[in-house]
Symmetry: C2
Subunit: 340 residues, 2 copies
């Protein structure tokens, strides 16, 4: 760790960031297997320039642990409810380890059957979905992931929260170093963005809140989905796919289960994986090459691929480490003091 | 058929509409199996109040046939490239018959493996996707469908067309009479809506066109996706899933293959199906019931479910038949005169 030229930030190598994350999560009481899995996604977020899913999440995770929302030593239990389906019961632990536990069998089944699905049940979710679909795309698979959250978002045409921020993530294998990956909330914006406006005493844009531009009221009332009735339909789809379809909670049920503790969402996640060789056999490589022409047509006109910014940030972080706000670093270190 | 009270419309019972559609498609030269499959989706569109996917499409289909874009008597060929995958080569015919050919095996595989996928290859596509996901939902399955079209839509941040209107459809089985179904283009609007503005000499809203509000220029240049970079990411996903992943054309390749004939899009379609009993076994019914609570929470606040309007129109049409513009009816009858 070094003080950055700007003394308001602290610079950490990725190894230092990983080590810090592990120490904090261990001190918070998380079992070693969970510590490793959770730390990895936080380092990945920080590395890729997603500060809101980076080391800041140490505070969120420690808070969920302190509140008893998460089981700190849950051992994920895997089963195969149908030939092309994998299910992992996370036992109330963080989702990351449950995903790691299910991933190898999901990959195996996708390759064997052409398509397969993995349900994570009974997990606590606070991480981005892109690390999961990116990993699967690096295994050569096409992947989709969905998860509900807490009921904070109104359906189009309504004003009362029903949906979570309900992200959809997609990964596509590419011949180059990085897969094509996107991961976005079906809410109009992230909750953190509204929180920033609230702190600054500023109104939010009209399409963020269901019935008001007052940031505080949007947080207490309802956010809107992105994209009008289409985004609202997708938010409903995420609820259904990663809720009732896999026997897990909707965002409203997650909020009810939270019972005012303001912990991270509880419930499930659904991941689909397709093997390009399933439909195409030996011709898969040649058809994936045609996808490259699509990406080139997007980039040649100055438009960005969804994952471009993250990969650019990653390249910088791998060379130079990450810089986090000094205040955040202090808050993280306080978690160690309290527990060591 | 009766002249409606408003003499500008002609009222047809659903049987009369079906009979008319079949006569026109037969006269256009389509083989009997294709006639039945195609007529059914047009009647369904008209019945459900989707005039743009209703009997009007007889003109579109006849035009594609006249231009030689479609194979009128293609026999769809089915194979199983992997245990949970079905593929139907449509042989250059309309997609409807290819879907019918593949559907029973898709349903069987979804029930057997928990999840399955159907690729339609080498088909001509001009119909909505909702009839397909609705049918699968009536079989008790959760279904997703994707198809590219012609390259008419620019990626977010660009101005040149890369994507098609690239619809996404979703179906969810419900205990009541109607499944939860949505089907929307990932373009900001339908091409027909822009065409209407062009005829009226009106500009289009700023978020419809990639670089202009002049309707004619948007049609000749590029439309935008819905929902900014999120809609753009989804449009790319549709290209990839129902293009290279299944060895079929992207929207740009479809437009190139059309070679200026202005026929319907050529290429593929991907349909995914999941069986709720796969993850849940005998508990599926109980979890589907929790989905009903989600729908109730949406409707109780006055917001609409995506499929509500169509089902309401369907109920009316089943009682009273459909009313189509007299001018459209005359244009359709001209197709019979020309060919009989």
């Amino acid at each position: 760790m070094t003080l950055a030229p700007d003394a308001d930030t602290v610079r950490l190598s990725l190894d230092e960031a990983r080590s810090l994350a592990r120490r904090v999560l261990s001190a918070a009481g998380l079992s070693p297997a969970h510590v490793d899995a959770v730390a990895e996604t936080m380092v990945a977020g920080e590395r890729d320039g997603c500060a809101s899913h980076g080391l800041y999440r140490l505070l969120v995770a420690a808070d969920s642990i302190a509140k008893g929302v998460v089981s700190v030593d849950a051992a994920p239990a895997l089963d195969e409810p149908a030939p092309a389906l994998v299910r992992v019961d996370g036992g109330g632990g963080f989702a990351q380890l449950a995903f790691e536990r299910g991933r190898p069998l999901l990959v195996e089944k996708a390759r064997r059957f052409g398509i397969a699905a993995l349900a994570l049940n009974n997990v606590v979710h606070f991480a981005a979905l892109w690390p999961e679909v990116e990993t699967l795309a690096r295994d050569g698979l096409v992947a989709l992931a969905f998860t509900p959250s807490h009921a904070w978002v109104a359906p189009e045409g309504g004003t009362k929260p029903v949906f979570g921020t309900n992200p959809i993530a997609f990964g596509w294998p590419r011949p180059g170093p990085h897969p094509f990956v996107f991961d976005f909330a079906t809410s109009a914006t992230a909750r953190g963005e509204i929180e920033l406006r609230r702190r600054a005493g500023e109104p939010v844009p009209a399409d963020w809140g269901a019935s008001t531009t007052v940031a505080e009221d949007v947080l207490a009332g309802a956010m809107r989905t992105f994209g009008g009735h289409k985004g609202s339909a997708l938010a409903a789809m995420v609820e259904l796919l990663a809720g009732p379809l896999i026997g897990d909670l909707t965002s409203q049920e997650s909020l009810d289960a939270d019972a005012g503790r303001k912990g991270s969402p509880l419930g499930g996640e659904l991941i689909l994986a397709l093997d390009p060789a399933g439909f195409l056999g030996a011709a898969a490589g040649q058809h994936l090459q045609r996808a490259e022409a699509l990406f080139e047509a997007i980039q040649a006109q100055g438009a960005r691929l969804p994952s471009e910014r993250r990969y650019a940030a990653r390249a910088v972080s791998e060379r130079e480490g990450v810089a986090i706000p000094a205040a955040l670093h202090r808050d993280i270190l306080k978690l160690l003091e309290r527990k060591d």
